[in-house]
């Protein structure tokens, strides 16, 4: 029997005041005039509650760019959904924060780009850091779960300890150390973002020490990036198995990046109920279960744990959405991921040659700018 979806990810807008180089939004974004109305979102949230969805993640773009956010949160709360706001904090004053919490917001997840203001603003392509720090102080005064998220990559991993100390003094309940994942803008900028093996090894030690030190004070969530893992990630907990995502224009997707897969057709919440989409939509059925699996997945004992990995990553890297995720060490196309990893690790060896003192990881803003200006592309806004 088909289980209920457990979480709904609502990308309520693609508009965003930040331009982060690792944004996972699609390169083709939905414009403001195609966004769903307040009424449709409220209906979707009611349907989600009836369907047994527990968690609602309001994300974007920047959800605060929608003037009706407070109304949306109140509607989600009445629909019995646990409501999480994933935000950069830009557009959130102390009074608006109070209103969102009063409307029933359960959890707020504030993203930081770095502990160092100049580097953070360079990565975001916007002057955002100082406001976030101020906002974090305001959030910790409210009775709402508070997570600080920092996306880590080659350009900031060398000062991970400093970033953890920085987050600690913001006093969240939870800390997410999230490795950049290579979809959307991050895939475009992958060569500047992949960590070296040495950085990754240090990361594991640093995170383990922080977990011990902060146990009972701050919960830390961190996973090994899939390019360095032996097996792929269980993307979305399995296709069409636990999660559904609605994009700003109302298309229902089984995964954030599913829009890139050629040949998939998405149903829209303007035309269909959430329950119908979950059960019947061809996009959700396409990779549900094991029928679609090729070898080595089909006979692999891990197929019920990682579900063959991410279909979107398989398509982006091999052109075939039914391929085993190339992040898997057993995948026929694993050499694609190995080559990307090898390139950055060879780069590191080269950089130690005295005649070629090119650092792979920036230790100052000037170095970061020299290495990345004109090399990476900033996320653009929709039309």
């Amino acid at each position: 029997m088909l289980p209920n979806p457990l979480a709904l990810i609502a990308e309520i807008t693609h508009r965003c005041p930040l331009h982060c180089v690792y944004c996972s939004n699609p390169l083709q974004m939905a414009g403001a005039n195609s966004e769903l109305s307040t009424e449709i979102w409220l209906r979707v949230f009611r349907e989600a509650g009836e369907l047994g969805v527990l968690h609602l993640h309001l994300t974007g773009g920047e959800p605060l760019a929608r003037a009706d956010l407070c109304e949306l949160i109140a509607g989600a709360h009445s629909a019995n959904l646990y409501t999480n706001l994933i935000t950069s904090g830009i557009g959130l004053s102390e009074s608006r924060l109070g209103a969102l919490v009063d409307a029933g917001l359960d959890h707020i997840q504030l993203s930081f780009q770095d502990s160092r203001e100049d580097a953070a603003n360079w990565i975001a392509g916007a002057q955002a850091h100082a406001h976030k720090v101020e906002l974090a102080r305001a959030i910790s005064k409210h009775r709402v779960a508070f997570t600080v998220n920092v996306v880590v990559h080659r350009q900031n991993l060398d000062h991970l300890e400093e970033m953890i100390s920085f987050i600690e003094q913001l006093q969240p309940d939870r800390m997410e150390i999230a490795h950049a994942q290579y979809y959307g803008w991050a895939l475009q900028n992958r060569a500047a973002l992949i960590p070296t093996r040495e950085q990754l090894d240090k990361t594991l030690t640093i995170v383990a020490a922080a977990e011990t030190r902060l146990a009972g004070t701050i919960r830390i969530d961190s996973v090994v990036p899939d390019y360095y893992a032996r097996y792929p990630k269980a993307c979305m907990g399995g296709w069409g198995r636990r999660l559904m995502l609605i994009d700003p224009a109302g298309d229902a997707l089984p995964c954030h990046a599913a829009g890139v897969i050629a040949g998939l057709e998405f149903d829209n919440v303007r035309d269909q109920s959430l329950g119908w989409i979950w059960r019947e939509s061809s996009a959700f059925r396409r990779f549900r279960g094991e029928e679609w699996m090729p070898e080595p997945c089909r006979s692999c004992e891990r197929r019920t744990e990682d579900f063959g990995g991410c279909r979107c990553q398989a398509f982006l890297l091999t052109g075939d959405a039914t391929a085993t995720d190339p992040a898997c060490s057993l995948a026929p196309a694993h050499r694609i991921v190995e080559a990307a990893v090898l390139e950055v690790n060879l780069g590191e060896i080269t950089s130690r040659e005295p005649e070629n003192p090119q650092p792979v990881s920036a230790s100052s803003l000037r170095q970061l700018q020299q290495q990345t200006a004109g090399f990476w592309s900033y996320r653009m806004n929709p039309e």
């Binding site: 968690h55 779960a145 146990a215």
Partner: protein
Amino acid sequence: MPRPVDDSQPRLAAGCRWGGGGDEGKMILFPEGAIRVQGTGRKILDRCDGQNTFREIVQELQAHYTASEPAQIRDEVATFLEQLQQKRIVDF
């Protein structure tokens, strides 16, 4: 690692609350997760309202489970709350 003391007043931590459907499906929801609590765990957490003290919660359970050693009940309640505190689900 903190353990609750007699006067501790345990309550669900910020952003953790009851949810789910019906009495059978009642769950504690928290950031990125949910747990279904039944039986004794449910009895304990139902009383974690920030008002009842640890001593009172233990006494109620001791009165209910007369076949078990009172000291053992106290120890188990303390361990249960301590574990949930480590997960940032309960404060005391």
